[in-house]
Amino acid sequence: MQFIMRMLEIADAAKPRLARGVRLQIDSTTGKSVLLFAEGILELNETAQEILTRCDGRTVSEIVLALAEEYDADPMALAADVRETLIDLQRRKLIELA
């Protein structure tokens, strides 16, 4: 129930962005993307990395469409993954929804 309610919080028109004090950068040791924040470091999987590099003022719908185009995938199928990742990052206070 909690999960469904949280899902509803992310509207298609929401514009996700990194929370204050959070940085996205490449870890030069591994070549992978990481989020750096006051309490720690989060190594990103490929999905999270592809989403976060597009959190530049675009809406959730626009991010889904961009990824669908890039990977030649079904936007409806991608949307669930994108939302799940954004929900997880929001719960960790690493992104905000403008």
């Binding site: 004090g21 940085r23 030069s28 924040f37 006051a38 470091i41």
Partner: protein, 372 residues
């Protein structure tokens, strides 16, 4: 053994501090060589920062003593940002005026952890041994105004643990993102003052409830991070996530430590200095970083324990302080043959209502020449 890469560097810029907290983790007695050697210079710190980044470090914490006592703090923050590090300032806030706040923000400071002794001015100032509380409130306002994420760090002990609700209230009032309520860890000055600092079992139980309730109430608003005094635990903390695995500390004179309290708690270990050796060599090759790396060094009951990759045998410094041998199992573990030592400390405290309350305030190093 494959040597992992480090993630975080704790840069202890100076042992100088305007406060005199009785639980300070700085060494009580500075080794004679340490006491007469000057602090690292700005250029030496810049080199340490570059070497740490090359080794894989992603985060740096500027600490001390009081790091604002170094006039070159903003320059070092800038150097760390140039090396792509995430920069944390761990401070009492004393000395943070508008000019320095602006310089730190312009240098790219990412986050501040501001220490508080209590929510109550008189008690806070008594613990700090200085008129500090009002100045900390001012510092918090400046950090907020600069738009930098703020964490309030309270060290919890017998004298302030009953004020947990009010301390959480202060964090709400100051609009902190995070509040750390960490019981004093008994090393350095805190080990010396343990009899006056260790909370009673009753206090610990009540505090845990208060922290859990507040955590739920403030979820999504303020992160509450509560740390129990480990003497009341039955399994040891996974200290440092293992020796020489993720963290390294460079102290004010350039000694490189696997853990900030190791130099005083483990006197038989020789620590290398950045003035004589490259950081990369110290991390990979030195005896001090390799002595307790991995699991091969472990004695029983750790060696055959299914928890050995989870808690790594606990804390080497605690083992050394209780048993005289840093290679022993952390005596907090109820499987340790030395657990009786911890139980004796708890028994003395909880069986009597007549508690020691005198403590020795931290003193500043007198002989340390200042390079700035």
């Amino acid at each position: 053994m494959t040597v992992p890469r480090p993630y975080a560097l704790l840069a202890e810029l100076t042992y100088r501090c305007p406060l005199h907290c009785p639980y300070c983790s700085n060494p009580v007695v500075l080794k004679s060589a340490t006491a007469v050697t000057a602090e690292l210079t700005t250029d030496e710190w810049r080199r340490v920062i570059r070497e740490a980044a090359a080794l894989g470090v992603l985060q740096i914490g500027f600490s001390g003593g009081e790091p604002l006592a170094r006039r070159d703090l903003a320059d070092l923050v800038h150097a760390a940002r140039e090396a792509n590090l995430y920069t944390n300032l761990i401070t009492s806030g004393i000395g943070l005026d508008d000019d320095r706040m602006r310089a730190l923000r312009d240098a790219g400071l990412d986050s501040v952890q501001l220490s508080f002794q209590s929510d109550d001015t008189d008690l806070a100032d008594e613990i700090a041994g200085a008129r500090a509380h009002e100045r900390k409130l001012n510092a918090a306002a400046k950090i907020r105004a600069a738009g930098i994420p703020l964490s309030l760090n309270f060290v919890i002990h017998r004298r302030n643990i009953d004020r947990l609700p009010q301390m959480i209230g202060l964090a709400e009032m100051l609009r902190a993102e995070r509040v750390e309520l960490a019981n004093a860890q008994f090393y350095g000055w805190a080990f010396l003052n343990r009899a006056a600092l260790l909370p009673t079992r009753e206090q610990v139980v009540s505090a845990r409830e208060i922290a859990t309730t507040a955590k739920a109430r403030l979820a999504g608003k303020i992160d509450i991070f509560y740390v129990l005094p480990d003497y009341y635990e039955s399994r040891p903390k996974p200290c440092l996530n293992g020796w020489g695995q993720r963290y390294l500390t460079v102290n004010p004179v350039g000694d490189v430590l696997p853990c900030p309290t190791a130099s005083s708690a483990i006197p038989d270990l020789h620590f290398e200095n950045v003035r004589a050796r490259a950081l990369d060599w110290i991390w990979r090759e030195s005896e001090s970083f390799n002595r307790f790396r991995g699991t091969e060094w472990m004695p029983e009951p750790c060696q055959s324990c299914p928890q050995k990759e989870i808690d790594f045998g606990g804390c080497r410094c605690q083992a050394a302080l209780f048993t005289g041998n840093a290679a022993n199992t952390d005596p907090v573990c109820t499987l340790s043959p030395n657990r009786a030592g911890v139980d004796a400390v708890l028994g003395d405290l909880n069986s009597s209502s007549d508690h020691a309350c005198d403590w020795t305030c931290r003193m500043n190093p007198m002989k340390l020449p200042v390079s700035q």
